[in-house]
């Protein structure tokens, strides 16, 4: 069994579009998705696509209805509302919505199931409290945690973060620097919910705990937003207008240890996360030292530490010191710009889109005023290291 990606550098991203990210858009989510998809197709120099892929997950634990075109947008829905009878349309069901969907888009293009695949991600912030759940009966797996008062993603991330703090002596001052960095970069993005709104360490430190040691700034804010990317073969992309960005490797994984719902011990996260990273390097044929632009996932701030360590960008247990020393400051020469996308903390809950978008923009030379020099290899991470994955992108496939 070879872990090498068979279609390495054969499939590329040829264009993209991204909507405004807003707390509550006036526009219905499906309508935003149609507009964004049309812009992405045009951006790639095309009139249409013949394939559609998404991970349509509506990531809430609250009592909200999941309704196609309103709170989520499936691949089928989008194709139909663009008036396209696609050769291929599929939704991703598994772990890591973005890397999982990218894998499907690459497979569809590489196999010839479709020539041009639109991958979209549409995120919705419903009216009312995002995660609140009024269930009275805790059935099935919920019976092991809900009657005990353990429910929802904040308690979920608080437990492994507390383990990390206790084990390695991480301070709240260090995590403040994660937020300062994410919001600094997010404040530079005209489409971001946090455009023009950086955060100071003092503001972070003054925030009360919600689920100690987690405060509200440690959580990305729910938003309405849509992103879309067009995938095709490297060969076809030669006739298209944009510098192609090649998909060069995947790493994904999930734990096998049985746990009660949303129980994520630190050792589960790091153990599976290190294997995910090993798969990523094997798939892509590169190592951590080759990555110019690692984009760590940050839907909850502790994931930044976990990904930095799993990817081998700093020693285990040291990420908090690494951050405090300015080693992820995107404006500092020689540092690792791990949150130059602004991440979810600096954009809003776009669920892995910022990391993928930053790899695309920087590697295609389309980052405008934010364009970084000498960037050839990026890694876009998504979700927890033990329940998601990462994708390697490059703009110079001939080097390997």
């Amino acid at each position: 069994m070879s872990g090498t990606m068979a279609a390495r550098n054969k499939v590329v991203i040829a264009g993209y579009a991204h909507s405004q990210v807003e707390r509550h858009s006036d526009q219905q989510l499906g309508s935003m998705a149609v507009d964004t998809a049309r812009r992405a197709i045009a951006d790639a120099g095309l009139d249409a696509v013949d394939g559609f892929v998404t991970g349509a997950l509506f990531p809430t634990s609250g009592s909200h209805a999941a309704e196609d075109g309103i709170s989520l947008v499936t691949a089928n829905w989008l194709a139909e509302h663009l008036g396209i009878n696609p050769r291929y349309a599929a939704g991703f069901q598994g772990f890591g919505q973005i890397p999982g969907s990218v894998t499907m888009a690459v497979n569809a293009v590489a196999s010839g199931a479709a020539d041009y695949v639109l991958l979209h991600r549409a995120l919705h912030n419903p009216k009312g409290k995002y995660h609140e759940n009024t269930m009275r009966d805790a059935r099935g797996s919920q019976q092991w945690t809900v009657p005990q008062g353990y429910f929802g993603p904040l308690a979920m991330i608080a437990l492994p973060y507390q383990e990390y703090i206790q084990r390695y002596g991480a301070t709240r001052e260090a995590m403040a620097q994660v937020l300062v960095e994410a919001r600094k970069n997010g404040a530079r993005l005209p489409w971001s919910h946090w455009y023009g709104q950086p955060l100071t360490a003092e503001e972070y430190l003054a925030a009360p705990f919600i689920s100690d040691p987690i405060c509200r700034y440690d959580c990305d804010i729910p938003v309405d937003g849509v992103a879309a990317f067009v995938f095709t073969t490297a060969e076809r992309a030669k006739d298209l207008p944009n510098q192609p960005v090649y998909v060069s490797g995947f790493g994904m994984g999930a734990p096998v240890t049985r746990r009660t719902p949303v129980h994520w011990p630190l050792d589960d996260i790091m153990g599976v996360g290190e294997e995910t990273a090993r798969r990523l390097w094997e798939s892509s044929g590169i190592g951590p030292g080759d990555v110019d632009l690692p984009q760590v996932y940050d839907g909850f701030s502790p994931f930044v530490y976990f990904w930095l360590e799993c990817l081998g960008l700093c020693p285990k247990g040291e990420a908090h010191r690494f951050v405090l020393d300015g080693q992820i400051d995107s404006d500092r020469p020689g540092a690792i710009p791990a949150l130059s996308s602004g991440g979810a903390l600096g954009n809003g809950r776009m669920h892995g889109v910022p990391q993928m978008l930053e790899c695309y923009l920087q590697l295609s030379g389309r980052a405008g005023e934010r364009q970084r020099q000498g960037v050839n290899v990026g890694v876009a991470c998504h979700s927890s290291p033990h329940f998601g994955g990462a994708v390697v992108y490059t703009n110079t496939p001939t080097r390997r």
């Binding site: 634990s61 995660h131 919920q142 353990y150 100690d212 049985r258």
Partner: protein, 148 residues
């Protein structure tokens, strides 16, 4: 209509065929954990396959355990997404590894209050919250006099 609106109620477990012995034991203030009939390994929560021996017919039996364990992590809840827990805020949740088996972990409330002195490895033992006359939910308390 007079008086304030009723406080929302805590969610209650709905025992099923597999879990009924767990909740029966809890109602008697006993902690019983599922154990594979083939290999004797504890499993929480039980499922259709034993992860230790792989049998797809584990015939789990709920076996009373000591209820003693060590704290692996904790969080102090200042808000709850479950409205029925609002009256209890702030409250502590502990991630406990039971002494019976490595990595056998249960999450429950720590009933010593939000300022209880906690550390990795703090010793706790099971306690029960009588949520209704019929339903008791396993929780934990710090073990007095134990080094933590």
């Amino acid at each position: 209509m007079t008086g304030p609106p009723a406080e929302p109620l805590r969610p209650l477990p709905v025992p099923d065929e597999l879990s009924a012995p767990y909740w029966d034991a809890a109602a008697r203030h006993r902690l019983a954990v599922a154990r594979c009939s083939r290999c004797g390994t504890f499993a929480h929560p039980p499922d259709v396959v034993c992860q230790a021996c792989g049998t797809s017919d584990p015939e789990f039996r709920f076996t009373e355990v000591s209820g003693r364990g060590r704290v692996r992590s904790w969080t102090v809840m200042h808000q709850s997404f479950l409205p029925g827990f609002r009256a209890d805020l702030p409250y502590v949740l502990v991630d406990v590894e039971l002494v019976e088996q490595a990595d056998l972990r249960l999450i429950g409330r720590l009933l010593d209050g939000p300022d209880a002195p906690l550390g990795l490895g703090s010793e706790v033992h099971v306690a029960f919250e009588d949520v209704t006359p019929e339903v008791s939910v396993p929780a934990f308390v710090l073990t007095a006099g134990a080094d933590s």
